[in-house]
């Protein structure tokens, strides 16, 4: 059985990736990062809207989650790419987006938008749970000191909520890395599209899909390691027995405390 596998192809795909593949890998990474950033921002705005005194903002926030969590991601991707321009009657998704420093392909833009909109609905729930997890006394103490709700949220509640938000956010980004493969369906040349093209000309699914699966595994594994590191630091500064992440960063670059100034140890 295994004898039928052309191991040379797998070896080449993994250890001597060509430029086309590396560009596709880069596309996967920046779509995932951009969509996740968009998702976090949308989730934060929606989570704050949910706490608003204005009822229409709360309704809007609820409708957003209902819609984007209740429909398939693939449908959303197709809808954004093919449907949005027709729906609004003007070109929201151009063929190419000129961003000054570089051009962004319209399909990539649509993909980031759809993945980000979908992610935002999940992030709203995660951020909401994070804010709810912070003791109500924190907001009261901040307000008793004369802070407005907005200032208290920014300075007191959200920094604490971020510790609760980071672990599930990490899981979301793990899923995001893999979900980017869906945008191949609207013609984005990312990692999976690269594998699919090779397969369709060679009909060697095991080699090409197997190799790309390993690449996804590499991305998610690297991310898992980064996430573990972030969580360890957050937990340590929460206990107060280790300097915070920011303090470490500062220490590392400060001429007084940096390793190069401490001398031999």
């Amino acid at each position: 059985m295994l004898g039928a596998v052309d191991w040379h192809i797998v070896w080449e795909r993994l250890f001597h990736p060509d430029d086309v593949f590396l560009r596709a890998l880069w596309t996967t990474v920046y779509i995932a990062v951009s969509a996740q950033v968009l998702g976090v921002l949308l989730g934060l705005v929606a989570a704050l809207m949910r706490r608003s005194k204005l009822s229409f903002l709360r309704v809007l926030s609820g409708a957003y989650v209902l819609l984007f969590r209740g429909t398939p991601l693939l449908v959303q991707i197709f809808f954004v790419y093919f449907g949005v321009n027709l729906l609004f009657g003007f070109t929201l998704i151009p063929t190419t987006l000129h961003l000054g420093l570089f051009d962004l392909d319209g399909a990539v833009f649509a993909g980031i938008l759809a993945l980000g909109l979908n992610e935002g609905a999940y992030m709203r729930e995660i951020i909401r749970a994070g804010i709810d997890a912070i003791d109500k006394g924190q907001m009261e103490a901040a307000r008793s000191l004369g802070m407005t709700e907005r200032l208290a949220m920014r300075r007191i509640v959200l920094p604490q909520a971020s510790r609760v938000i980071v672990p599930p956010l990490g899981n979301e980004f793990n899923a995001m890395l893999k979900n980017t493969s869906l945008v191949f369906t609207i013609g984005v040349y990312e990692m999976f599209a690269d594998a699919e093209i090779h397969y369709s000309t060679s009909f060697q699914p095991v080699e090409y899909f197997g190799a790309v699966a390993v690449w996804y595994l590499v991305l998610t594994t690297v991310w898992t390691a980064i996430q573990a590191q972030i969580e360890r630091k957050l937990a340590a500064s929460e206990r107060g027995d280790e300097p915070s992440f920011r303090e470490r960063l500062f220490d590392a670059w400060s001429p007084k405390t940096a390793w190069w100034a401490r001398g031999a140890r």
């Binding site: 103490a141 000191l145 004369g146 407005t148 300075r155 027995d241």
Partner: protein, 269 residues
């Protein structure tokens, strides 16, 4: 509405003293529960008053109304002549803007039962946060004042320690320093020693007594009769949403009038 008020201070002397807090017929409902049923209270400037009473009598709720952490459903509360939380418009009271309410709260310090220190900030970070962010004080000045305040509550050496590493008594003292950093005209204490181990109550009470001696206007909701006896100028007894008796500590401990007060005091003394 109001029960017997047997203040031992003569009317004339009361009038001469500037009034820091004036609460008139304050009502508060939580849904169908009528928690405050017409609270009347005056606190003279520089006085410290202890509010005692059984749990559920509305002591804490009333305190939280004074800085508008709770809205009131009737009556009015003034601090240094300013209506708290509301504006008068056409003879009616309407809730003030968030910004104005925040500005009023900045002048009123509050200390909570559960400390409510900001766990992501050091002791000093807790103290300097509001002066810098709310008042716009320079960081240098805020740190200087903050260090002085920490020294005043006996915690100069804990400036860089996070609340999680402090004992309950130390946390509460940081919380007092944090409130004082805003240079408030009035301090509210909501059962400040109830969450503390017995051996830590003393250190917090010492700080509060010193504050009272220095002439800070204070409203203290507490079960600590020691504080009431030694540091309070007046004591008010609350029961079932009303202040039923009010007077000097001597009056309370030697000759309480109301039957309900006698009962309550006999249980806790």
């Amino acid at each position: 509405m109001v029960g017997t008020r047997s203040s031992l201070i003569p009317e004339a002397a009361q009038a001469a003293k500037a009034v820091a807090v004036r609460a008139v017929d304050v009502h508060k409902r939580f849904g169908r529960l009528h928690v405050l049923k017409g609270v009347d209270l005056e606190v003279g400037r520089g006085d410290s008053i202890c509010v005692i009473g059984p749990s559920g009598s509305g002591k804490s709720t009333f305190l939280r109304c004074v800085n508008h952490l709770e809205k009131i459903d009737g009556g009015r509360i003034e601090v240094n002549g300013h209506l708290i939380g509301y504006r008068e418009r056409g003879g009616k009271l309407v809730e003030d803007s968030e910004k104005n309410i925040a500005r009023q709260r900045a002048e009123i310090g509050m200390v909570f039962q559960r400390f409510n220190l900001f766990p992501h900030k050091t002791a000093l970070g807790n103290v300097i946060e509001a002066p810098i962010r709310v008042r716009g004080v320079s960081e240098k000045l805020a740190v200087k004042t903050g260090e002085e305040l920490l020294a005043r509550v006996g915690l100069a050496d804990k400036r860089d320690v996070y609340p999680g590493k402090l004992s309950g008594g130390q946390q509460q003292r940081v919380a007092i320093a944090r409130a004082l950093a805003m240079n408030p005209a009035l301090m509210l204490f909501d059962e400040p020693t109830s969450a503390l181990d017995p051996e830590m109550i003393g250190e917090v009470l010492e700080v509060m007594k010193a504050l009272a001696r220095e002439g800070m206007t204070m409203i203290v909701v507490t079960h600590e009769m020691g504080f009431a006896r030694e540091a309070a100028d007046r004591v008010a007894m609350m029961d079932d949403g009303r202040i039923i008796e009010e007077g000097t500590p001597e009056h309370f401990f030697l000759a309480p009038v109301e039957e309900r007060t006698k009962q309550f005091l006999s249980k806790i003394l």
